[in-house]
């Protein structure tokens, strides 16, 4: 029989919070876009994967791009800044191509459009970089900090810390800035927002950019731990989507709490129940929460357009 081990539980908690933080960031991307335009962006996982490939290309030696081996090896900070700039452009392009032409045709064409972009990006990555997994270097020179029997990965702490900073930044953005208030107004009622002079199209574009940047930061944080593959965003997005529903689709605190909860519960579930059923555990929780609270933990209404 398994005995209670406080060190193991602390280890599980750190890992659970780290992976849960990634779910939370990606879930925030889902929620922000849903609030802004009323649809689920099924390319959110590719917002995690695509920038990781770009970063690996500029950072690593000997990356094959369209069969040509490149050795750019730019400094880490320069690569991060470059990826962020490129992903700002990507977010604008995504808005312009996948959302804007279909914005008046109801939610279904937009959802299908995001699915199309997701498939396109995965195939583009396969064609460009092939199937070889790439490994981004960790942010810190040491892999592990050992405190007695406890082994903490600095990368896990970085993930948790950066997520906390981003949540704080987002709070300030939405509560204290004009831009944030305009984003909230657009999310609540686009028609009224337009009537009071908010440039809704621009706010929606900014939302797509912000969502792409959340995915980018998630990707750059997990890539050193997960390796960069074209599938890396898919499972994260699936869990993040579940997290946003558990939290109450459309609720920003719900996305954060939901992400952290799923990360922690599946890690503890894998240890105390069975690692073979970690996915099942997460989705049983999802169903359980929806049975008790159909609108999710913090939601006010049932998601209609998933």
């Amino acid at each position: 029989m398994m005995h209670f081990d406080p060190v193991a539980n602390l280890q599980l908690l750190v890992s659970g919070l780290a992976i849960g933080s990634i779910y939370a960031l990606v879930a925030l991307g889902f929620v922000l876009i849903y609030n802004a335009v009323g649809v689920v962006n099924f390319a959110q996982g590719e917002f995690v994967m695509f920038p990781s490939y770009i970063a690996a290309t500029f950072l690593l030696p000997g990356v094959a791009v369209f069969g040509t081996v490149v050795h750019w090896q730019l400094p880490l900070i320069a690569v991060y800044l470059l990826v962020i700039v490129l992903m700002i452009g990507f977010g604008l392009l995504f808005n312009r191509i996948a959302y804007y032409p279909l914005r008046d045709r109801g939610w279904l064409p937009v959802v299908i459009s995001t699915i199309g972009v997701s498939i396109f990006l995965r195939n583009l990555v396969q064609l460009t970089w092939g199937s070889q997994p790439l490994v981004l270097p960790p942010l810190f020179p040491v892999d592990t900090i050992a405190v007695g029997a406890l082994h903490i990965r600095p990368q896990d702490l970085a993930i948790i810390g950066v997520t906390a900073l981003l949540i704080a930044f987002q709070y300030v953005l939405f509560e204290r800035t004009t831009l944030g208030k305009q984003m909230r107004a657009t999310a609540q009622d686009r028609t009224t927002a337009r009537l009071i002079g908010i440039r809704v199209g621009r706010i929606v574009a900014i939302t797509f950019v912000y969502s792409a940047l959340l995915g980018t930061i998630s990707g750059l944080l997990v890539a050193p731990l997960f390796t960069v593959t074209k599938e890396m965003g898919a499972l994260i997005a699936l869990k993040a989507f579940a997290a946003s529903i558990v939290g109450g689709f459309g609720s920003i605190p719900g996305a954060i709490i939901g992400g952290l909860a799923i990360g922690v519960i599946e890690t503890f579930g894998g240890f105390y129940v069975s690692s073979a059923y970690v996915d099942a555990i997460a989705f049983v929780i999802l169903i359980g929460v929806l049975l008790v609270r159909p609108s999710g933990l913090f939601g006010e209404r049932v998601a209609e357009k998933a």
Binding site: I19, A64, A276, V278
Partner: protein
């Protein structure tokens, strides 16, 4: 005759038809290509394996077609490829499509779960089927034309278990495996081999498809007090991530892995985290024949990266060359005759070594145990069934 529009079209049409019928007879018809079916996983999470197989088949076909007599009598190979993707249903659909393409043999897949899903279809199509799936039961599914060009899990798992217990003196063996047919089949074989040694695993953990965080599994293995870990995993990316997490969570006992641990991609991805780990593999660079050396050189020249020989490019390269050798000898691609020839094949020298067919269609009967150091595998010992 007045050449109006109608007459012009009729005359031109008749002339064109005559030319089309008569032209090959005048210049001599091109020899009919030999259509070879290929069904690797080109998309999905196992696309890495599939792309390696695609490259291995392509290289073999290009080299054979560059010969003056090609396969035989000037007949070249023509690859007919379908994507087995990442799930069994799609793989079976792709196979059905492939079988309608007038092919003489099928090469791939390497995933046992797909081999087992395709087996009922292949039972009713008696053509040679060159597979790389290593689950023991694959060759016991009653498919007459199935051949396996890699060591079965029975051989690999026995070699891993015996190495951990007899050579590394492990008393508490833990198992970590993928939840697919490959992983569970391999883990079952390890458990059976441990029973023969009057032992049971102290932990037997499996992880779900696409998992990325293995903290729970590793902590359970650590808590079990294991003094050796046997890993049965197909996906090189999973293998690399697990090795990284094992090291970062302070797991120190010997690690012995299935072939994917020793493949080039896993070693290059895991980097220093793979140092010291052992792998039971079909192939170790530097301990093989001239055939293997030529393959490694020509592969790198053609694709600008090193091949994953055992589980990726090598076995399919050998499959195509083996078929070509049989066709050349019998001057025919008749499937039944080819199956009979392959069943009696002995001593074929390929990249992976010597192939000898047994009654079940197994062609490989030994593995090597290697130890990883700086992204290279060093031979520790060879183990025969």
């Amino acid at each position: 005759m007045r050449l109006d529009r109608k007459n012009f079209l009729v005359t031109t049409g008749v002339a064109a038809a005559g030319a089309a019928i008569g032209f090959p007879a005048i210049v001599g018809a091109a020899p009919e290509p030999i259509r070879l079916g290929s069904i690797p996983c080109l998309t999905g999470s196992n696309a890495l394996l599939g792309s390696q197989e695609h490259d291995g088949i392509l290289l073999a076909v290009e080299q054979i077609n560059a010969r003056s007599d090609k396969v035989y009598d000037g007949r070249p190979f023509e690859i007919v490829e379908e994507d087995a993707t990442n799930d069994n249903q799609s793989a079976v659909s792709a196979l059905n499509k492939l079988l309608g393409e007038n092919i003489v043999a099928v090469v791939c897949p390497v995933l046992s779960t797909q081999v087992q899903a395709m087996a009922p279809v292949m039972k009713s199509h008696e053509i040679p089927w060159m597979t790389g799936g290593t689950a023991v039961k694959n060759t016991q599914l009653g498919v007459n034309g199935m051949f396996r060009l890699r060591a079965s899990d029975g051989i690999t798992a026995a070699a891993m278990t015996n190495f951990a217990v007899k050579e590394k003196h492990a008393k508490k063996v833990a198992i970590l495996h993928a939840s697919d047919a490959f992983g569970t089949g391999g883990a079952d074989q390890i458990v059976q081999n441990l029973k023969k040694l009057n032992m049971e695993p102290v932990a037997n953990e499996q992880y779900p498809k696409d998992a990325k965080d293995f903290t729970a599994e590793i902590l359970k293995i650590k808590q079990s007090g294991a003094d050796a870990l046997l890993m049965y995993i197909q996906n090189p990316s999973d293998t690399a991530i697990i090795l990284q997490q094992l090291r970062s969570l302070g797991f120190a006992p010997p690690i012995v892995g299935s072939p994917s641990l020793g493949n080039q991609t896993a070693m290059e991805t895991a980097k220093k985290n793979a140092n010291g780990a052992y792998a039971a593999v079909d192939f170790i660079v530097g301990f093989n024949s001239n055939v293997a050396t030529h393959f490694l050189t020509s592969f790198y020249q053609r694709f600008h990266h090193n091949p994953d020989v055992g589980s990726g490019s090598g076995w399919v390269f050998d499959s195509v060359n083996m078929l070509a050798a049989v066709y050349r000898k019998q001057k025919s691609t008749d499937p039944k005759q080819t199956i009979a020839s392959l069943k009696s094949l002995k001593g074929f020298e390929g990249v992976l070594g010597r192939f000898d067919a047994d009654a079940e269609g197994n062609m490989v009967h030994s593995v090597s145990i290697g130890q990883i150091e700086d992204e290279k595998l060093h031979l520790v010992k060879k183990v025969s069934a």
